[in-house]
């Protein structure tokens, strides 16, 4: 019998305790990834696990490189990542700076900042879909009343409007996480650094650029990775709001994966899009996390 309390065997006990979790992870994370790689290498319409399998081929990837749909969705995804990521970072930082100040009702303000995050994605999107509706929506009504537009914006059929409507809802849903993360980052900056900077004669902007931003850099890095990956992966908001339309203007890589696999039943091609998405995401997170991890002091 091994005595697990002895220093020599203590590590083994740790591994023993970790084993179930590691096995579970392998089954529910690694296996599906390998499975989708496997499907992407077969020229199949409907994949059946355990059934007859097709020989491995690069046909799906060949289709990918020559498909206008794929390049379009890659472009849409990139635009969306930059728009949503950039704007939610700015709004998140602004709200974090705001609720980091001491003022009456701060806890309530913090709650409101975080609220959109707590609303289920589909529920939030359905509500926004109603508000953005071109016939009954409150947003068009308000825009018409104020006089910013002469006729209702067709969020469903105008490509640009649809793209920005999706971005808007994504930002609305995504900035609270950024805000919460950055608030935690802000709170870890020692007050003395600001006091020292004030004694050194730094004004409020100088304190922001020389103290706040550099101190937040690691958190900003991690947060932008998370937001980027979230935009890459997000499906519910786009699908509920526009289903990828009109004419592919909101078809991101995840929407394309879904369309190919479950609308057109070309699972091989769908899996190929998914695998490419996975590779892109892995590279982005490696690059960003690596870069910002280096600047962590």
């Amino acid at each position: 019998m091994i005595d697990f309390s002895s220093p020599r065997h203590r590590a083994k006990f740790g591994y023993l305790l970790l084993a179930p979790a590691v096995i579970m992870m392998a089954l529910i994370i690694i296996y599906p990834i390998l499975l989708s790689v496997d499907i992407s290498l077969q020229d199949v319409r409907i994949a059946r696990v355990g059934g007859d399998r097709e020989p491995w081929t690069l046909e799906n990837y060949r289709w990918l490189t020559s498909s206008a749909e794929f390049w379009n969705s890659l472009w849409v995804t990139a635009k969306m990542v930059l728009t949503v990521g950039g704007i939610s970072l700015i709004i998140g930082l602004a709200t974090a700076l705001l609720v980091n100040q001491k003022f009456r009702g701060r806890s309530l303000a913090r709650l409101f900042v975080a609220l959109p995050w707590a609303v289920p994605e589909v529920v939030a999107t359905v509500i926004w879909a109603w508000m953005l509706d071109s016939s009954f929506g409150v947003i068009n009504w308000a825009l018409l009343k104020i006089g910013l537009v002469d006729q209702a914006i067709q969020f469903g059929s105008n490509s640009t409007a649809a793209f920005f409507a999706v971005c808007f809802v994504m930002i609305w849903k995504g900035y609270p996480l950024v805000s919460i993360m950055l608030l935690a980052g802000l709170q870890s900056i020692p007050e003395e650094q600001y006091q020292a900077a004030r004694v050194d004669g730094a004004n409020v902007w100088q304190r922001f650029f020389y103290i706040t931003l550099p101190s937040l850099a690691p958190v900003l890095g991690v947060t932008s990775v998370m937001t980027t990956l979230w935009v890459f992966r997000d499906f519910a908001i786009i699908y509920v709001l526009t289903q990828g339309g009109p004419i592919g203007s909101t078809t991101t890589l995840s929407i394309l994966t879904f369309e190919q696999s479950f609308a057109f039943f070309r699972m091989g091609q769908g899996a190929a899009v998914g695998v490419v998405t996975l590779v892109i995401c892995a590279f982005i997170s490696r690059a960003l996390v690596g870069r910002f991890a280096n600047s962590v002091h």
Partner: protein
């Protein structure tokens, strides 16, 4: 270089008065130490001088200029913080030069002055490192460098040594004093450590509960404490106190310490009532002579030739609850134990009976009501 003046400065947080009637004049080139137990308001006073805290009343001037409502950057001061407050993402060079950069100095000038400051503080080899790659003592010097490079009219230091280990603290203490003497910049230094205060200051401000207890040179504070609190706070080990009767014989006041009659240098008129509180420093007690009160030693702490002898206060002469007033840093010292500090080659053993005598002229007399010193 500049004078610093506080005039009736007040600070309150709602109902709580953190600082009351703070009035102080610091001469050009003075090394002034604010000392007191934690929560006495010394750091608050310093922060008000720095402009990091608003005053509730009164005025503060630096070099004759009223700065009560000026921002910290407009007071021409530099501050060293307890945890150094170095900017972790900047090199030592940028840390030291930050204040100059914020004031819009040109690059060459900043570089020249940073390098001069680094040389003064022996930091030249570390200029391109980040603060995290430095030891505690080096970080401390960077913080000092940040202060001296601007050549401000005053240095403010908030417990700058408390994060260093004991040996480095003593070494840095003398470095700071030498630096201050060389630069001649008026310095306000906050500490809770009376040893630091005594060794560094030219002027000490003892504070308690937001009120100044006494202002004076280290010698004055040591020899003529204004009240029981200052008497107990300054000196290590702290002063011994005992309660004693006041008798007047032939027009001279005297008291008793156990069997010994102790003549007092205080005029009998000053002594109201039949009793007073007396204080005697541990190093002033005469041990082992032929006269004095016999006491049984409770504990002997030997530091080689120097010894600290503990013995009980003569019966009925303990000061009881007044002990709480005393700000001595020997924690847990009880009111019924007295200490004597002797430097001799004699061996003392626990339980041994020796005679303790109080020399004339070394006994401090305090009013039991007001706790003020009588003279």
């Amino acid at each position: 270089m500049a004078t610093i003046d506080f005039k009736n400065v007040q600070k309150s947080y709602g109902e709580v008065h953190a600082i009351r009637d703070f009035t102080l004049h610091v001469e050009e080139g003075d090394f002034c130490v604010f000392v007191g137990p934690s929560g006495c308001g010394k750091s608050t006073a310093l922060k008000m001088l720095a402009g990091l805290e608003a005053t509730t009343g009164g005025t503060i001037s630096i070099g004759g200029r009223d700065v009560t409502d000026a921002g910290p950057g407009k007071r021409d001061i530099a501050m060293v913080f307890q945890n150094y407050a170095l900017y972790p993402h900047m090199s030592v060079r940028s840390n030291i030069g930050f204040g100059l950069k914020m004031r819009g100095q040109d690059k060459a000038e900043i570089n020249r002055r940073v390098e001069a400051a680094a040389e003064t503080l022996e930091l030249t080899d570390y200029l391109d490192r980040r603060p995290r790659a430095l030891s505690g003592g080096q970080r401390q010097r960077v913080a000092l460098g940040r202060a001296i490079v601007r050549e401000p009219s005053a240095f403010l230091m908030d417990e700058p040594l408390s994060n260093l280990d004991a040996k480095l603290r003593v070494q840095t203490r003398s470095e700071i004093v030498n630096l201050q003497k060389r630069l001649g910049v008026t310095t306000i230094y906050v500490t809770h450590d009376q040893v630091e205060a005594l060794t560094m200051a030219t002027k000490i401000v003892v504070m308690r509960g937001g009120v100044i207890q006494q202002i004076g040179s280290p010698e004055t504070l040591f020899a003529q404490p204004a009240n029981i609190f200052v008497a107990g706070f300054i000196g290590s080990p702290g002063m011994n106190f005992f309660r004693g009767p006041v008798e007047v014989v032939d027009g001279r006041a005297q008291t008793r310490f156990g069997e010994q009659v102790v003549p007092l240098s205080v005029a009998p008129d000053a002594l109201r009532g039949g009793e007073a509180i007396f204080g005697i420093r541990p190093e002033h007690l005469k041990i082992g002579g032929d006269t004095g009160t016999p006491v049984a030693l409770g504990l002997v702490e030997s530091l080689g030739t120097e010894k600290i002898l503990h013995f009980p206060t003569p019966e009925g002469q303990a000061i009881g609850s007044l002990q709480k007033v005393i700000g001595s840093d020997d924690a847990g010292r009880d009111s019924a134990t007295m200490l004597a500090r002797v430097i001799d080659d004699r061996r003392y053993t626990d339980g041994e009976t020796v005679r303790v005598a109080l020399p004339e002229g070394k006994v401090h007399v305090f009013d039991p009501e007001t706790q003020k010193a009588l003279s």
